[in-house]
Point group: C2
Chain length 346, copies 2
């Protein structure tokens, strides 16, 4: 660790470093080469394996691959290939394993089985020398630099952007991501407003996050950050699933954090907002100006970002919220209790 | 609704009816016919679409299809085919849409798109006259009879068993499920012990459920039942994901409900139990005698049930727990606030 023991010093530095990490990724030529190698194999379907924050990056990639490349996509339950020893026929399958450290034994094993069963395997990690990167045919480096805080921040957005740049290259390249670092600087500057919001949740024991489509992984990752750093119960639901049962838990005592991007997923969330406010919920929205106006409070996202890229930006205020809420509650978000940086599940 | 207004009268009757529903399914000849029609098409991969409790049945089916038939499987995000209009190439794909009512518009639309894109489509519903059953080429009837309580119980286990019987037929038929109804009668008779456990959670605001492999859908469904009927925040984690972050929220104030079946998934949960008790958690386990002995309290599952069938049984004590906890908290589990029986998401 570093010599600086100020609580939150590590996570603060890593949150602020994100625009610089994204600039490195935007300048990298690895995605053109990888896209070519993948397209040569003409995959018919895609499987994604990941755990924790990386699993939310995998879920984002699932939307990208399904919507932009129109490929059927599944998220792997690693235990089927490890604990249960399944040997599926994976010819024509593109298999991604996404992991910050590249060190989780069950992911390594899943990638080995996928490769031996005929899949084209690609590791997406922050460590080109990792066991996972060695187990797969191809490797994408998320170029985030060493991450010291236990809660992933810069590696998460680097995973999202790396998957976007790869998929974007596979369709020919739109260049839409070039504006993201400057927009991130603008969004990160709203930290004082987020810090104030954190005070509002000082005594909350549980909260709910919700979104639809591309932004649903943001809701999942926001909930995980809040759990990891502030130890409250934060539950993420797709806006559609929330209406199928969990809406019953929503009342004035359960704050709801909502993401409403500008696009079809955000539009599908709009009918959910009045259901939440109608149930008496305190609603904090990160999203379009219209959606924030319908909420108790919120942060307006920069305009003009395609919905497919919005998740790279949307998570930033939630990372700041988790950091400020932890400190407000007397916790150190750099070193949550009970957690280690590399989790060894088998 | 019925003329009987006793709180919990509907859910009580439907929980107890489950062995009879399973006997009807075991006697049905529809699965042999369906298995033949599916095998004729030689599917290379499977997609499953569902929402709410049915999504947990889909997750169970994902394990069955991956482990027993060794097919790659994905859970569909319906919005990619509805909100985002994706038209994936689904030749060689077997597409299941699972829904109690068969009436959710986004599932119907997803099934229509899947069928027009070349998939073999199968609806699994409790209503052969539903829009979903009409939209697909094939239909499996879960034969649960009309379900009146808003929280699904008998339709959930009927979905699990129907998917098991179909997959079991596709591999030739093991007959292992025949013992389930008698074992269910035995397990349901432990209701007094479950009712006592419910008193322990009278003032809990949040809890966590966890399991791995085949039993993970049980943890998800148990959490949903508790949220729907008792309005507490219940979060489900795979035992592996729990170690990747959410373990931080576990302490003496967060009860943990664990499922440990007799098999590889249950074995993979065993290292998680000491981590939970080590964090001071109050652990209630439904599972093997060994696992219950390591926990604060629990219900021992009948012996001799293959792990792949265990989820059909495991959920029963959690259904009873949700019912008793709701009544202990002064709620009516038959009609949770804010919910309707058919949820119309688009």
């Amino acid at each position: 660790m570093t010599g600086d023991h100020t609580p939150a010093a590590l996570i603060d530095a890593e949150i602020r470093e994100q625009p610089a990490v994204w600039r490195r990724l935007l300048d990298s030529d690895q995605f053109a080469a990888l896209a070519g190698q993948i397209l040569d194999r003409r995959p018919r379907m895609v499987l994604l394996a990941a755990r924790g924050s990386s699993d939310h990056a995998a879920l984002y990639a699932k939307y990208l691959l399904e919507v932009i490349l129109e490929l059927p996509v599944g998220l792997v339950s690693p235990s089927t290939m490890t604990a249960y020893g399944a040997k599926p026929d994976l010819r024509d399958v593109l298999f991604f394993a996404i992991s910050q450290s590249g060190g989780s034994p069950d992911l390594v094993r899943s990638a080995q089985v996928a490769r031996s069963q005929g899949a084209l395997t690609v590791a997406v990690t922050n460590n080109p020398g990792s066991a996972l990167a060695e187990a797969t045919e191809l490797h994408a480096d998320v170029l985030a630099g060493r991450e010291l805080a236990v809660a992933a921040t810069k590696t998460y957005t680097a995973q999202l952007l790396a998957m976007y740049l790869l998929v974007d290259r596979m369709r020919g390249g739109s260049g839409a991501a070039a504006a993201l670092p400057d927009l991130a600087d603008e969004l990160l500057a709203r930290e004082p407003q987020v810090a104030e919001q954190a005070q509002r949740y000082r005594f909350a024991q549980r909260l709910v996050t919700t979104a639809r489509g591309y932004s649903y992984p943001t809701a999942r990752e926001a909930a995980l950050k809040l759990m990891e750093t502030s130890y409250l119960s934060a539950q993420a639901f797709s806006g559609a699933d929330l209406m199928h049962g969990p809406l019953a838990i929503i009342d004035a005592h359960v704050p709801v954090l909502v993401v409403v991007a500008d696009g079809p997923g955000g539009a599908a969330m709009r009918p959910v907002l009045p259901r939440l406010t109608g149930a008496g919920a305190d609603v904090f929205t990160v999203g379009t100006a219209d959606a924030v106006a319908e909420s108790t409070s919120g942060i307006i996202l920069p305009e003009g970002v395609p919905e497919e890229l919005s998740p790279v930006l949307e998570i930033l205020p939630f990372q700041q919220l988790a950091r400020h809420l932890a400190v407000a509650r007397g916790e150190n978000p750099d070193a949550p209790r009970g957690l280690r940086k590399v989790t060894e599940t088998t």
